[in-house]
């Protein structure tokens, strides 16, 4: 009977030792994993998530990397990232616009296929998609910007005239011609990448879809654009008390500060006497 009794504290000590060793080992491994996850989370600018994809931080909690969106995309736009070859977290879906852009299917099969809601099922109109925003990134190479008429990106845009417009500018070089500048409007651009895909320049496109987090800046909260409707410079008019020169500026009997008798003689005969008195100067003007 005594033997097991004396064994007990030994067991407990051993258990504690093993447990702490296990916990410490796992804490170490956990720190490694956390580090790895943090590194692998970075999403390169050229990798565009499918339509309806949640914000990247939520996306990695939601996407189980099943590839069902990839399978149901009729244009083979999407692929799952391969470790070490593509930028995004391994196994997550993305597309590269210059290779295969999103054709903006009306029924959005990729979103419908997603079992987890990593692609938000509330997206039912593909025109509301927000995969990124196109940016005319090289104005020195864009043919339209040089004063030629290429217009290809403008013409292929599924949201033509809303997402891309051609803005007329003077061609300073020739002095006599116009430049039809492709201009993207972020509220209408879905980030489908058709423009980037179709840009006629060899290799890199002059217009590129970028994730909004990279492409868009936000003005500070207190900036006001006075010319915008419903955007007054000050929130409401402030009625400051009127303080004008005259006898007794706080004279309620004469809110303007002047009593009719105080008005100087318009003929200015006898010189000008101001009704305004500086305190403590006996009323003599300067």
């Amino acid at each position: 009977m005594s033997a097991p009794k004396s064994k007990k504290p030994m067991d407990r000590r051993r258990f504690l030792k093993d447990a702490s060793r296990g916990v410490a080992g796992c804490a170490l491994a956990g720190m490694g994993l956390t580090q790895f996850v943090s590194d692998a989370r970075a999403l390169p600018a050229q990798a565009i998530r499918p339509p309806g994809a949640l914000e990247e931080s939520d996306f990695l909690a939601a996407c189980i990397r099943c590839g069902l969106c990839v399978r149901d995309c009729p244009y083979d736009t999407l692929s799952l990232a391969e470790l070490g070859l593509d930028g995004p977290a391994t196994g997550t879906p993305f597309f590269t616009a210059r290779d295969v852009p999103c054709e903006m299917c009306e029924d959005i099969p990729c979103v419908v296929a997603c079992p987890t809601g990593a692609l938000d099922h509330n997206l039912t109109n593909i025109d509301d998609a927000d995969m990124g925003v196109a940016v005319l990134i090289d104005e020195e190479a864009c043919l339209n910007a040089l004063g030629l008429r290429c217009d290809v990106c403008y013409r292929v845009c599924p949201v033509i005239d809303d997402a891309i417009t051609l803005e007329l500018r003077t061609n300073e070089r020739s002095g006599a011609h116009a430049i039809f500048m492709p201009v993207v409007h972020s509220d209408a651009c879905t980030g489908c990448g058709k423009c980037e895909k179709s840009c006629v320049l060899p290799d890199e496109s002059a217009i590129k879809v970028l994730p909004k987090r990279i492409a868009q800046a936000h003005s500070a909260d207190h900036y006001k654009l006075g010319w915008e409707e419903n955007n007054p410079l000050v929130d409401e008019l402030i009625d400051l008390p009127d303080r004008l020169p005259g006898s007794g500026t706080d004279n309620l009997a004469a809110p303007g500060g002047f009593l009719p008798g105080d008005l100087p003689d318009p003929s200015m005969e006898g010189g000008f006497t101001s009704g305004f008195k500086l305190p403590g100067t006996g009323g003599a003007g300067q």
């Binding site: 796992c26 491994a29 391969e82 997603c114």
Partner: protein, 306 residues
Amino acid sequence: MSDKTKLPVGYEAIRDKGWLNAHKFLLLRRASQLFFLALFLLGPWFGIWWFKGNLSGSLTFNFLPLTDPFITLQGMVAGHWPALTALIGALIVGVAYAVIGGRVYCSWVCPINPVTDGAHWLHDKLGMTKGWQPKKETRYYVLGMVLIVSMLTGTIAWEFVNPISMVHRGLIFGVGFAWAFVLAVFLFDFAVSRRGWCGHLCPVGAFYGLLGTGSVLRVTANKREACDDCMDCFAVCPEMHVITPALRGSDDDTPLILSPDCTNCGRCIDVCSVDVFEFTHRFDDTPAPGRVRQKSTPAPKADKAA
């Protein structure tokens, strides 16, 4: 220990039952592992899209959604409540494994299993020492760690490194450098720790093990009386500690292998020349006398052997 212990593993089983019968469940298992991979390859290879997706999530016949419950759990811990389809899928898979044995996933489905089995085979062939053997609770620590990291990083953390999805998804969608993870597991099991990955560390196995704690399908050692101490079952079992209580139990102890660690692989059934083991359900209470005659002396010795 009897003289038979020294014979090569499986020697008598092959002699007495024939090679095929002595490898029945092993072959079935390999077929099953291949089957679950082939299902998903039908699409990309032959254009037959009956099964889409991979082990993490899939859609069968455009109707049946299946989702890995462990991945779903990590997603929830990371702060995303999955859409209904994924939840239903996880429920179906979860219930299925809870009934047929959680670790059936490990031995009959998981594509890493052939890798670690291969590593063990080579390890054995070269007569290497067992190396580092983590404590048996380690896998649960790893499981906890994965859930904590998921919570802290707000991501499905294990999927960044999970060699199972790496290889399965890799074969179906394109592998990239994911094979490096598979190689790492192989080398780990081969050179660092015998049966180390599946047997001690993998949190997926730990999760499925817990899931199948009360599973119905079980292996029983109901003819344990006939055991001739050849020890072959211990040699082939990937979780050999599960065998001892059933095989070496006395009359009153259940012959059922009830440990959640048992993967229901059936290798012990294969390799036993006197057919001590068979598959049954957990409510099977067929009397199974222990090896009463030897009870007094060999019991502690048997413990050591395990």
